[in-house]
């Protein structure tokens, strides 16, 4: 017995609807959502398009925020937005950030991506605004002497300890102020590191 002709209408509708929804789903329709942030506690490799101190700082900050986010149990994106958008930082955030940055230095030392101090001297001197004679004298010091006197990880860890992160984060919009604070902390760290070295020698 032949099915009546009108059955074609509901059958065509079912085929059309199943076909359209099937094609949408087969092409990823069910998963067309915003990018999901990755787990901050998973190992992350970071790169930078910049060389020297800028590149080093960027990689440190990216790893440091990632480590801090892992400690705080949030995504690194949520923490970045929190730090950028609100003016009050909790003690937990500051502590996590400091620990995260120090952990980042250790990670970079471990994977060999931390440059020797001699690699950074020229750039540091160019921006240090030192007396010309002193600057020339420092430039004459052989790289091996600098590298044995100053360990990059030691200087960075001291600088991170010295930094007033709360004050630093309050001035994110002021690039000049930011650089002044970082420079002061790094200079202090270099001085402390050298003194420590001298004390050990004596």
């Amino acid at each position: 017995m032949r099915a009546p002709r009108w059955i074609g209408l509901p059958v065509a509708a079912v085929v059309l609807v199943a076909g359209v929804i099937g094609v949408q789903l087969a092409n990823g329709g069910g998963t067309y959502e915003p990018l999901k942030p990755s787990d901050p506690c998973a190992e992350r490799t970071v790169t930078s398009r910049a060389d020297g101190i800028d590149g080093l700082t960027e990689r440190l900050v990216l790893l440091g925020i990632n480590n801090a986010a892992c400690t705080l149990g949030v995504t690194r994106e949520a923490l970045t937005l929190e730090l950028a958008q609100t003016s009050t930082r909790t003690d937990a955030e500051i502590d996590a950030l400091r620990a995260g940055l120090i952990e980042a230095v250790r990670q970079m030392k471990k994977d060999g991506s931390l440059p020797p101090a001699s690699d950074l001297v020229d750039e540091a001197l160019a921006s240090a605004n030192l007396n010309g004679l002193l600057e020339r004298a420092i430039r004459l010091i052989p790289d091996s002497v600098i590298d044995s006197a100053l360990k990059t990880d030691d200087v960075l860890e001291r600088a991170i300890d010295d930094l007033d992160l709360r004050d630093l984060l309050a001035n994110l919009d002021d690039q000049g102020d930011l650089e002044r604070q970082v420079e002061a902390a790094v200079t202090e760290a270099v001085k402390d590191s050298l003194l420590d070295r001298l004390r050990n020698l004596i």
């Binding site: 009546p4 002709r5 009108w6 074609g8 209408l9 509901p10 065509a12 509708a13 079912v14 059309l16 609807v17 359209v20 929804i21 094609v23 949408q24 789903l25 092409n27 990823g28 329709g29 069910g30 067309y32 959502e33 915003p34 990018l35 999901k36 942030p37 990755s38 930078s48 398009r49 910049a50 800028d54 590149g55 700082t57 960027e58 990216l62 995504t75 690194r76 994106e77 949520a78 970045t80 937005l81 950028a84 958008q85 919009d173 690039q175």
Partner: protein
């Protein structure tokens, strides 16, 4: 003049019903030009449908006491005058009031035009013309509104209605007929009207939400959105030949299949694989076919052989527009809340892309600052990131990477907006399935 009467009355019916959704694509322009809030501007749409839904039944009751030609002419004239007032409105409050008056005129015009069309074309053809004009108007409203807004301005939507409506006034006056004297012989077709109301709510999801997704979510121009949503009326026209080919034995089959197609189309609109306009074509074709199979059949069922005709027309108009308002009332809070909820994942996705962008740190910081400003100016809408990138001064070596970042960020916003509309489209599909269940109990009146 006699020959032009029926077309002019049909155009008036189409305009009144097109006005139910005609401003959808103009809402962003109205919001900006009249310095309104999102909540206020939604009332430009809601007020018209609410007043039309509420006024239709009393208007039909009043019809029996007035000369039909006077009733129709007054209705069309009020509609024309209020349309001109809408175009001249210089504040959102005035526009909303003018839209209310326009809806009152529209309610009178719809009831009056039905009787005039029956007078001119006879019972069956007159009602069919009225129903068809309504379906075309409903489906074509957003398209016409979008094209006019893009080509001229939002005011043009209302200005173009005035000459047609003014020509319809003498047309209505030229049809002499006595006030109908029929007593209330039939009860309202409750089931058909409920199904019609549910379908109107579902179709609101299709037309209103899709237009918003295209313009606000995917950043397309009103004209592009208008051309895109023209698939719905074109597909609606294809429903007739399909029915003639397959000859279903009962209206119930057509209506049930139509409801199913609308539900399927809305479900498909909830899951596009990307923000490419092509992915909306097939779902819209399903919705259009469904609209073509249901709205005129349900309207005919609710009115066919029921007297007084005007009273039953009043119920169908009321059902349609109350359905639109209920649809807006259900869907608007859902998608606005979802859009709000989508901000966080969108911002995190944007942050992730900026942090990992292959750009020097200074450029990343500049991008982040520009984006921060753009995001804080969003006023509850999906932000336009292009001005932030256009003002960036980056090293030419990194221009390509910056352009790629802009495309990736736009893609994240499109993903977030699409995601935010998903629940609303699925709710619309659910309402269409409710209409399907309701339609299965429809029976053709035989007496």
């Amino acid at each position: 003049m006699r020959r032009a009467v029926a077309p002019l009355l049909a155009v008036t019916v189409a305009m009144v019903l097109a006005d139910s959704a005609v401003v959808t694509l103009a809402l962003p322009d109205i919001l900006q030009n009249l310095d309104a809030s999102v909540g206020q501007v939604a009332w430009v749409l809601i007020a018209y449908n609410l007043v039309l839904g509420v006024a239709a039944v009393p208007a039909a009751a009043a019809f029996a006491r007035v000369q039909p030609r006077v009733f129709s002419a007054v209705g069309v004239a009020v509609f024309a005058g209020a349309s001109a007032w809408c175009a001249l409105a210089d504040s959102i409050e005035v526009l909303i009031i003018a839209r209310c008056v326009q809806a009152v005129g529209g309610a009178l015009a719809l009831i009056g035009c039905l009787e005039q069309l029956v007078e001119v074309r006879g019972e069956r053809r007159g009602v069919a013309t009225w129903v068809t004009a309504g379906v075309i108007g409903t489906a074509a409203g957003p398209v016409a509104g979008g094209l006019l807004t893009q080509a001229i301005s939002w005011q043009a939507i209302f200005v173009v209605q005035v000459p047609f409506a003014l020509l319809a006034v003498p047309a209505a006056l030229s049809v002499a007929s006595a006030p109908p004297q029929e007593a209330d012989r039939h009860r309202p077709a409750v089931r058909a009207n409920i199904t019609l109301a549910l379908m109107s709510a579902a179709l609101t999801a299709a037309l209103f939400l899709l237009v918003l997704l295209l313009v606000e979510g995917w950043g397309r121009s009103p004209a592009t959105a208008a051309v895109t949503v023209s698939v719905v009326p074109i597909a609606a026209l294809a429903a007739g030949p399909l029915v003639r080919l397959l000859r279903p034995p009962h209206d119930v089959v057509e209506v049930a299949v139509g409801c199913f197609l609308v539900a399927g189309g809305l479900a498909a609109l909830a899951i596009p694989p990307s923000a490419h306009l092509a992915w909306t074509i097939a779902p819209q074709a399903l919705v259009g076919l469904g609209l073509g199979l249901t709205v005129d059949r349900l309207t005919s069922q609710a009115m066919e052989m029921r007297l007084p005709r005007a009273r039953h027309a009043g119920w169908t108009i009321s059902a349609r527009h109350v359905g639109v308002v209920v649809g807006l009332a259900i869907l608007t809070p859902v998608f606005t809340a979802d859009l709000q909820d989508a901000q966080e994942p969108a911002q995190e996705a944007i942050t992730s892309l900026v942090l990992d962008a292959p750009l020097p740190p200074d450029d990343k910081i500049a991008v982040a600052q520009a984006l921060g400003d753009a995001l804080s100016d969003e006023r509850g809408q999906v932000p336009d990131l292009h001005p932030a990138f256009a003002s960036l001064d980056v090293d030419p070596r990194y221009r390509a990477a910056t352009d790629q970042l802009e495309r990736d960020l736009d893609s994240q916003l499109e993903r977030a907006a699409t995601w935010a509309f998903r629940d609303s489209f699925l709710i619309g599909a659910g309402i269409a399935l409710l209409a399907l269940l309701s339609s299965l109990r429809l029976r053709r009146r035989t007496s």
